[in-house]
């Protein structure tokens, strides 16, 4: 499909809210954007979609002036505007939440919400008034936290909501959200959508970037798709069924998805033959952190952890990895009792851990993709046994191919990759160490549909090769496709264990939502 034959109805609305035309941007000869246009109408939620590295974030940054575009014009209500910085964009009426949560971690939540527009009297910030308003704004997002506490004392998800609330509260004409839902759970996404609908009714236009197609069809009126920095097409949501949309994004059919389903079916049988658990946790827990639980990890076996945000999923994985120390129960690995008091011991036992906040804490932005990929493997081997350059090149090339990291250049500093591609490289880092147990916290967050299917296929393949997996995921459809066992958590308790036929999305949802006694029964 070329841009010219996509349905356009620009003429129906004589006065669009925001019009982008001819946006182009090159980074050192690489065309990240090439003649992109986008038209946002009043009261419209406009999905901006595309694979990892398609240029979505770059388009947004060129729009707000954070990145200087090579060409292109921007009109707001027909008048040309040219913001040269985030400050000017905000003044012009474009409120933005960038992909990297952009707040000051050392300031209080209230200061973060109102930085630059705090209520003042005689030049002094009215702290009490600001806190009151901050609490009111966050209440609209169902968030009741101490707004006087520093932002960094809260989880990534809370920080993300604060960033969104800040943008929404600026009562701008246009709201731009770059993957706002990547670290939110289903409930929080619902709240965000409710807020978006309210803004929409007020005539505010919203640009919404996401990799969740369900969300696109739930809230968006219109879709613009980018592919390799070019406009792949634009249409109303009603005109563009899901399959066509995926085709537009990838430029090809999603062959992987079907292949992956076949693979899933095949290895589902393979997993039937039970191997003995090599690691078992009995009555393992930590007071005030996670209630005691039992957990058995077998080679070739995937255990999924499901539950709402803050239900104790991440905490469970941290206990298993020794990043937090249990105060009750025993851990048995290879038949022997182990202490697991630190991640170093867990690494020694062959455990690998890909944390949730990898986006902010995992990457070393200045190092190349290759160096980032071999980092953990090199650490495991120790400084005395350096990987030869040839080995490094081989490993990097293999994972770049396997995970489809784009651009496929191992020597590019990882900081210059798009958000999703950075994430793939981090996953590769842990896969490269070939652990016996790999713990993945939200492995597919921020990863596009194409790569998504590939990562799930990869997880299955790793299992058939005998790796044990412990996966935290909020995407239940996804867990269902690969987990052999699903543990459901609620309020820091393991409340249900589902196996075999019982692993279905409604089954998991029921266990998450069930009253405590019902959950205990299921367990």
């Amino acid at each position: 499909m070329t841009p010219s034959d996509t349905p356009t109805d620009d003429r129906r609305d004589p006065a669009p809210l925001l019009e982008l035309a001819g946006f182009s941007k090159s980074f050192a000869g690489f065309k990240a954007l090439d003649g992109v246009r986008l038209t946002l109408r009043h009261g419209e939620v406009h999905a901006l979609l595309g694979e990892n590295g398609a240029g979505k974030s770059t388009l947004i940054k060129c729009m707000t002036g954070v990145v200087h575009r090579d060409a292109g014009t921007l009109r707001l209500d027909g008048a040309l505007i040219a913001p040269r910085s985030a400050a000017e964009a905000t003044q012009a009426g474009l409120a933005t939440v960038y992909q990297e949560v952009n707040l000051a971690p050392n300031l209080s939540v209230a200061q973060n919400l109102f930085l630059g527009r705090q209520p003042t009297r005689f030049g002094l910030v009215r702290e009490g008034e600001m806190r009151r308003r901050a609490a009111a704004v966050l209440a609209g997002f169902d968030l009741n936290i101490d707004v006087a506490a520093p932002l960094e004392s809260y989880s990534v998800a809370v920080q993300h909501i604060v960033a969104i609330a800040r943008a929404v509260d600026q009562s701008a004409r246009v709201l731009i959200l770059d993957e706002p839902t990547a670290s939110l759970d289903a409930h929080e996404v619902e709240i965000l959508f409710a807020v978006m609908r309210k803004l929409k009714a007020r005539g505010i236009g919203i640009v919404f970037v996401t990799h969740f197609l369900d969300q696109v069809y739930a809230i968006c009126d219109r879709i613009t798709v980018l592919r390799n920095g070019r406009l792949a097409g634009s249409a109303t949501t009603a005109e563009l069924p899901r399959l066509d949309l995926v085709k537009m994004m990838l430029g090809r059919e999603l062959a992987h998805a079907t292949a992956e389903r076949a693979l899933a079916a095949a290895s589902g049988e393979a997993a039937g033959g039970r191997e003995a658990a090599f690691a078992a946790f009995e009555g393992y827990g930590k007071a005030g952190y996670v209630a005691p639980f039992d957990l058995a990890l077998r080679p070739g076996h995937v255990v999924g952890l499901a539950g709402l945000l803050g239900s104790g999923r991440t905490e469970t994985t941290r206990l298993v990895f020794g990043a937090a120390t249990a105060d009750t129960g025993t851990a048995i690995v290879d038949g022997a009792k182990v202490a697991l008091a630190s991640p170093a011991e867990a690494l020694h036992l062959g455990f690998g851990y890909c944390p949730e906040e990898r986006k902010t804490e995992g990457i070393v932005a200045e190092l190349t993709v290759r160096e980032n990929i071999v980092l953990a493997l090199q650490a495991k081997r120790g400084a005395l046994k350096p990987l030869s350059r040839r080995e490094q090149d081989e490993i990097a090339a293999r994972f770049i191919r396997l995970l489809d990291i784009r651009p496929p250049d191992p020597e590019r500093p990882i900081g210059l990759l798009s958000g999703g591609n950075q994430q793939k490289a981090l996953l590769a880092r842990w896969l490269a160490t070939q652990p016996r147990l790999l713990i993945l916290d939200e492995p597919t967050r921020g990863i596009d549909v194409g790569a998504h299917a590939e990562i799930i296929a990869l997880i299955r393949r790793l299992c058939t090769e005998g790796m044990a997996l412990l996966v935290v995921s909020s995407e239940l459809e996804e867990i269902v496709t690969y987990a052999d066992e699903v543990i459901v958590l609620r309020d820091r308790h393991h409340v249900a264990r589902l196996t075999g036929e019982a692993i279905t999305v409604p089954g998991i949802l029921a266990a998450i939502a069930a009253d405590a006694p019902a959950g205990e029964q299921a367990a």
Partner: protein
């Protein structure tokens, strides 16, 4: 860091000062008096004033090495303007404040527009200001204007023969003003935000360029004010005065609990940091037999102790933060 672990360094600094004062009082019979405290204020007024500016700079993630030279330049400028050119003292004061503020603004602009590290820019500023004062005069010039002797006599008389002098009053006003500006205004919040994350602050729509220029303007202007106070204190202008004061100011800021990497700190902590350095000096002058270089050694040891302490509390705070993650959501 939560609210209490933020206050911990300042509390520790205050405790060190109080303990130090207690030790001095027990060692020297007539130490514990309002008079000694007031002298402490007067003798360290010029340091206290620049240290307040330095607190803003360091919290924003920068550094200002030029302040000592700016003080030196100010004293020479004042002496020459008043004594040779016959400029009325008050007009000379206003002039030097404007000049030093412009100098700071230029440094801030250089840091922003050429994306240079503050260390390099203010190092250049340090050489420039010092060189300029040598160009004006290499000798110490006494200032004999009436206003100077008048201001030197002016003081608030307190019980016990203690005197709250003009320099001390100026310092107290600057500390109070600094606290208000840093903790209660939008500008102050921007300073903290810059130290927390520069990129994010820009993306949040704060005018980072303007804020940075203002921070260095403030620091330099306070150095100019400190120069005025210094010239009042010595009744002269000398191009070699206040050499190394920038380092004393940085030490006071760090001892006061401000993180050298930016983002955290309080003006009050800096004030106590200045008093601690003054206390060490006073101890040595009371003792009479110790070399004044011991003051430097004691300051160095204190710095080490405080930096170590900060690392430990920071580490602990980070750990407890990790544990708390995810639990705060409603």
């Amino acid at each position: 860091m939560n609210a209490t672990s933020r206050l911990l360094p300042v509390a520790a600094t205050t405790a060190v000062f109080l303990i130090g004062f207690l030790i001095c009082s027990l060692t020297f019979p007539n130490f514990a008096s309002l008079r000694v405290v007031m002298n402490l204020f007067t003798d360290n007024a010029f340091l206290g004033i620049v240290a307040v500016g330095m607190t803003f700079v360091i919290i924003s993630g920068g550094i200002d090495l030029s302040v000592g030279s700016v003080i030196g330049f100010s004293t020479v400028f004042l002496a020459i303007a008043i004594e040779r050119w016959g400029v009325p003292p008050l007009a000379a004061f206003a002039l030097i404040l404007v000049i030093s503020a412009l100098f700071g603004a230029a440094m801030g602009a250089a840091i922003e527009y050429f994306e240079l590290p503050p260390f390099i820019v203010t190092l250049a500023g340090m050489f420039l200001a010092r060189g300029a004062s040598f160009l004006m005069s290499t000798e110490s010039i006494p200032i004999t204007a009436d206003l100077y002797s008048h201001l030197a006599e002016q003081a608030l008389r307190l019980p016990g023969g203690a005197r709250l002098t003009v320099p001390a009053m100026v310092m107290i006003l600057v500390v109070a003003g600094g606290m208000v500006l840093l903790h209660l205004t939008r500008f102050g919040a921007n300073v903290y935000a810059l130290g927390g994350s520069r990129v994010s602050t820009a993306l949040m729509g704060v005018n980072v360029t303007r804020t940075t220029v203002l921070i260095y303007t403030l620091s330099s202007a306070l150095a100019g004010l400190s120069g005025i106070v210094f010239s009042l204190y010595t009744s002269s202008g000398y191009s070699l005065s206040a050499v190394g004061v920038e380092l004393d100011a940085i030490a006071a800021v760090v001892i006061g609990g401000t993180l050298l990497s930016g983002g955290y700190g309080f003006v009050f902590g800096t004030f106590v940091g200045v008093l601690i350095q003054g206390l060490i000096q006073t101890y040595i002058s009371f003792d009479g037999s110790l070399s004044s270089w011991w003051a430097k050694i004691a300051t160095g040891l204190l710095l080490f102790a405080f930096i170590g302490f900060q690392q430990v509390t920071l580490g602990l705070a980070r750990r407890s933060r990790r544990h708390a993650t995810g639990g705060a959501h409603a």
